[in-house]
């Protein structure tokens, strides 16, 4: 119990110190750019813990999840196909290298042309912009499969389904998850940027719109919402990753001990 408090203390002392410093440092602030934290939090509570959560936050979160889902599933699926075929890999590699070199926000104008303003545009930008880390890491992970493992699957005549789901995917999973983590971060960036760029609702829209209306506390409050969204998304991802890759950590630790 004591160590738990100690751990929590170690984890929390800096954020708490910063919050306190911000709170007291800004308490009597008259600068319009740096309103008191109290005012920011009041705005946060008023705007984001009320109906706006349903009208603006939930749609943003929904679009982000769908976009990330498509990027992740598409990246892993296509990565498997490409990684398994030397020919496909050779044929597609130059194209993939070119496409992934395009800075993701640069596809916004074209996506806007093709999809117009709306959820499908935000989702398309995430799916197309954030797919690359998942795709490339899956290709690498699949191609790195140990030759002796391949021999084993062949000599025991494992069915294609067993080879893919029981051998190939788990073997590549540490690399796949490393890719998915970057895909997740890019998805968060792209939902915000695409909502700022062209949207009539959503958290990104709220932040940029508040700034343009010179509603400074709202601008700050929206930024905090975005920070929290990213934080929670990463936290959930890490928890899932820990569960799925428990064997990997266990093996790694056992090797370190030896």
């Amino acid at each position: 119990m004591r160590t738990l408090f100690k751990d929590m203390g170690l984890l929390l002392w800096l954020p708490i110190t910063i919050l306190l410093a911000w709170w007291f440092g800004s308490a009597n602030s008259t600068s319009i750019y740096f309103p008191p934290l109290e005012l920011i939090l009041e705005t946060f509570a008023r705007d984001w813990l009320g109906p706006r959560f349903v009208t603006d936050a939930l749609p943003s979160i929904g679009k982000f999840l769908v976009g990330f889902g498509i990027a992740a599933a598409g990246g892993v699926f296509l990565g498997m196909l490409i990684g398994l075929s030397r020919r496909l890999n050779a044929a597609l590699d130059p194209l993939i290298q070119f496409l992934r070199a395009i800075p993701p926000p640069a596809i916004l104008p074209i996506a806007l042309l093709l999809f117009g303003i709306g959820a499908s545009m935000n989702i398309a930008v995430i799916a197309l912009g954030a797919i690359w880390p998942a795709l490339l890491n899956t290709i690498d992970g699949v191609r790195a499969l140990d030759l002796q493992v391949i021999d084993m699957t062949k000599s025991y005549r494992l069915s294609p389904a067993k080879r893919i789901f029981k051998v190939l995917l788990p073997a590549a999973s540490p690399q796949i998850f490393a890719g998915l983590r970057v895909t997740l971060q890019m998805s968060i960036i792209l939902i915000v940027v695409s909502e700022m760029f062209a949207s009539t609702s959503g958290i990104g829209f709220y932040v940029l719109n508040s700034q343009q209306l010179f509603a400074v506390p709202e601008t700050w409050a929206g930024t905090i919402v975005l920070g929290l969204l990213g934080y929670v998304a990463t936290l959930v991802f890490v928890l899932i990753e820990r569960r799925v890759l428990a064997w990997h950590r266990g093996m790694y630790n056992s090797l370190e001990k030896a």
Partner: protein
């Protein structure tokens, strides 16, 4: 007088390697390998390192096509891994899957091929046979090297093969564990009535285990000698190795290997 009974071995051929050649471009690895294995026999293939043992094994297992010649398995030419052949690989840490428990690893090849109860029964029996009763829920990396190789052997047994093909299976374990595993394999051969083809670079191991030792030359490789050990069964690490016949065969194999090595280095 040494009793010459090699007991239960039939003269029925289960595998036949005929004129097997393998080359990679200019480099010739296997230069016409010929031998047969009888049903129930324990045959050790011993050769100097770099003699293409792994290539030979992969051709026999149907994992690699020979350049010339063929392997017959139970009367059928090998063009893909035969269903009644199980391979125990050299590097257990790579051939066991670390994301599965030991029993999941053992079950993997036969899953879906039998009803659930029979599946569980087979896995349990195999684990008991190799001395891993109650260890099925561990992950491979939670076990010692010797135990991991036992698990890999259990996977082979649960597959219910007619022939167990073992590729230097004990090369990576310590000497004491190796002795235990050698005796384990001899016992399992009787218990499961399987034919064993065992590849090794260790001369003592080959002579101790085998009914027959095939000695390979250096690359390009062929079979230089085919020696029946004629050692009495059951074998015993102390008594068998005390026999005059054991020393005789051992010296013979040693001589051939050294000749092969010096020939190769010219």
């Amino acid at each position: 007088m040494i009793p010459l009974s090699t007991s239960t071995i039939s003269t029925e051929t289960i595998m036949a390697v005929e004129g097997l050649r393998k080359s990679y471009g200019e480099a010739q690895i296997l230069d016409g390998i010929d031998f047969t294995v009888n049903k129930g026999e324990f045959v050790c293939i011993v050769g100097p390192s770099g003699s293409g043992k792994t290539t030979l094994l992969r051709c026999i297992a149907g994992l690699q096509a020979p350049t010339e010649g063929k392997t017959m398995f139970e009367g059928v030419e090998v063009t893909e891994p035969p269903a009644k052949l199980a391979v125990v690989f050299q590097d257990y840490s790579r051939s066991l899957l670390p994301w599965m428990t030991v029993q999941e690893n053992v079950m993997l090849p036969i899953e879906g091929r039998f009803p659930k109860e029979e599946l569980a029964e087979r896995v349990k029996k195999a684990l008991v046979s190799v001395g891993l009763a109650g260890k099925g829920k561990l992950y491979p990396w939670q076990m010692s090297g010797g135990m991991q190789q036992r698990a890999a052997i259990a996977r082979g047994l649960a597959y219910n093969p007619d022939v167990l093909l073992m590729d230097e299976p004990f090369a990576a374990v310590d000497a004491q564990t190796r002795v235990e595993l050698e005796d384990l394999v001899l016992r399992l051969r009787d218990e499961y009535n399987t034919t064993v083809l065992f590849v090794t670079h260790d001369i003592d191991e080959a002579v101790y285990l085998a009914d027959r030792v095939l000695v390979l030359s250096g690359a390009p490789t062929s079979v230089t000698e085919n020696i029946e050990t004629l050692l009495p069964n059951p074998r015993n690490q102390i008594e068998t190795k005390r026999l005059e016949r054991y020393s005789e065969v051992r010296a013979r194999v040693m001589g051939l290997i050294q000749a092969a090595k010096s020939h190769a280095s010219i």
